[in-house]
């Protein structure tokens, strides 16, 4: 999968917007959205929010977790914890990234948030690398990766799965040779 595809999936997450126009319910194939009335917050999928925002017809309400205090606590938790902490949204990085790009003016402290989110991403990436190292050294055939986001999985996928495939082949042929040796 391309990173763009993961972002595409993340764009289905709901966000709150405050429209400045009035419009009845829209009956999308993916579900009904609206009605829109000026000043009243309404939940819409992220792709729709961005489209309306680009037309300057709404304000985006950043999700509760996109807040300097909350993100700072998250970062501290991430540093303190040995494992991956639970993300406030399965598409945390993509949603934050998209909102910070397209609705910068509606998010207080956007620059600070951007740095903090990058920090969290880096901390998690480092954790992920050291965990992969452990996993590969153990020669395990299986791993459980709760709380890992799709974007994170996608970034390590090409490298990790290819090497695991090779290792599996080697392991299988090794045990095959050993068995042959012992029967002889």
């Amino acid at each position: 999968m391309e990173p763009g595809d993961v972002e595409f999936i993340a764009e289905k997450e709901l966000v709150k917007i405050v429209p400045n126009f009035a419009l009845g319910k829209i009956y999308f194939i993916s579900g009904d959205v609206g009605p829109f009335s000026p000043g009243l917050p309404v939940d819409v999928p992220l792709w729709l929010a961005i489209a309306i925002k680009q037309r300057q017809k709404c304000r985006v309400h950043p999700p509760e977790w996109l807040d300097v205090d909350k993100i700072e606590t998250m970062k501290d938790d991430e540093i303190a914890s040995e494992f991956f902490t639970e993300l406030p949204n399965p598409h945390f990085c993509e949603v934050a990234q998209l909102l910070l790009t397209h609705a910068t003016d509606n998010i207080p402290n956007a620059d600070l948030l951007r740095t903090l989110i990058k920090d969290i991403w880096d901390i998690r990436a480092a954790k992920l690398r050291s965990n992969i190292d452990k996993f590969v050294k153990l020669q395990a055939g299986h791993a459980r990766l709760d709380n890992l986001s799709q974007m994170e999985i996608n970034t390590i996928r090409p490298f990790l799965t290819a090497s695991l495939d090779h290792m599996y082949q080697l392991r299988i042929s090794q045990s095959y040779t050993e068995r042959n040796m012992s029967t002889q």
């Binding site: 999968m1 595809d5 595409f8 999936i9 126009f21 419009l23 829209i26 999308f28 194939i29 993916s30 579900g31 792709w47 729709l48 489209a51 309306i52 037309r55 017809k57 055939g141 299986h142 791993a143 459980r144 990766l145 709760d146 709380n147 890992l148 799709q150 999985i153 996928r157 990790l160 799965t161 695991l164 495939d165 599996y168 082949q169 392991r171 299988i172 045990s175 050993e178 068995r179 012992s182």
Partner: protein, 222 residues
Amino acid sequence: MDDLLNVSGVSNDDSDEEHLTAAQVLEKLEQAWMNERLSPNLMECKSQIVEIMLEQIEEMEANIQRAQKGDLKISLHRLELDRIRYVVSSYLRCRLEKIEKFAPILLEREKSKSDDEPSKLSPEEFAFAKELVGNVDNHFKSSALKHMPRNLQNIALHEITSRPNLDHYVFLRVHQREEGVIVDPETDDHAEDRVDLEVGAQHLMRYQPIEQLVENGAVSLI
């Protein structure tokens, strides 16, 4: 809604699809798209879902035609259609890529399977695979094989094409609890390795042990 999806995923009854709303069908299509993109081999064709979605798109397009131009609603509807069309074409293109790669093997499987086993190819895909294999075969014959000694002229394409690597590692998320899935076969220094798949958990393991679970919707690839 999850229940509905799982129920229709497990049973192969076609009538199930009729009870789903357009949004649910779309969700199933997106699921099938992700699975197809991430699985090493060709999965069962969800042609019914694709057809329902194409009908929906057409209907929506007709509605748009009738509506006034320049309306905000219309441009938003267009945007949604583009998104859905992307998923449909990416899904079908991904299948075509796999069919091109494994055509001789897929055809061989179609020949040898029993009648009640569902076909992995839609009729159109089957025709495509057949034509492709025929053309490759002809090409080999006319450019090289006919100049070879007679006893070397036969070539079995399905024996020389590479097979999908079912031992490929995949990431997956669990939707239905499943116990004692054997992830690693028994070897001399390892006993066989079993895991329980709990709802909501994410795992990394070989594709082969969970192939059936992906097909019936108990897990999905991520």
